[in-house]
Symmetry: C2
Subunit: 116 residues, 2 copies
């Protein structure tokens, strides 16, 4: 089974990327919109700024890492269910936390199987 | 600044991939061997089997997702410090948790900057 792991850079983000609750809320809403199930979350606050917000899913994970000094968010979305719409998840998060920004997306195919 | 986000599939793994403590221990040791600082961890156990183990770093994260039915581990390593040796981290984890397996690596360049 091939699944797609999406990494994306979100540039020109606003102040919301300094709010861990807003980031987690956006990631959870996006996951649920695709039919995924949220099973946990974790937050790291860096000094002097920057966050990692991870949302754990029955279908794997979403991790957001922010660099406020660059107005940048790094997005990492793995949905281990090939029928779920990962593009919807990425677009939903971008629209919520960085609506006026630019996005660069890397879609990496991953082969879930007994051998390469 | 360009950094490298590594995704890797580890095939033909043994029973250690069903042990969340062993996975977290391997990830933390690998991170520390590259000079990274561990700041947290999180674990998800799926039913009937499979794990997600996340280790949070001052330099971002390592996530391992296992599929015991395929003897497979999906590895996700982001080190937000361009001077750290991500190849060492990936090799250390592979050597510890899946020494006799095969690895397929995707090295994704990520542009940490104010614009693409």
């Amino acid at each position: 089974m091939l699944i797609t792991h999406v990494l994306a850079e979100l540039y020109d983000c606003g102040g919301m990327i300094e709010d861990p609750v807003a980031l987690a809320t956006a990631a959870k809403a996006a996951a649920r919109s695709a039919g995924a199930t949220v099973v946990g979350e974790y937050e790291v606050r860096y000094v002097p700024h920057g966050l990692t917000v991870a949302v754990f899913l029955a279908e794997s994970h979403i991790v957001l890492t922010t660099w406020p000094e660059y107005r940048l968010t790094l997005l990492d979305v793995l949905l281990c269910n090939a029928t779920m719409d990962y593009e919807l998840v990425v677009a939903s998060i971008k629209d919520e936390i960085c609506p006026d920004g630019q996005i660069v997306t890397h879609a990496v195919p991953r082969n879930v199987a007994k051998s390469p």
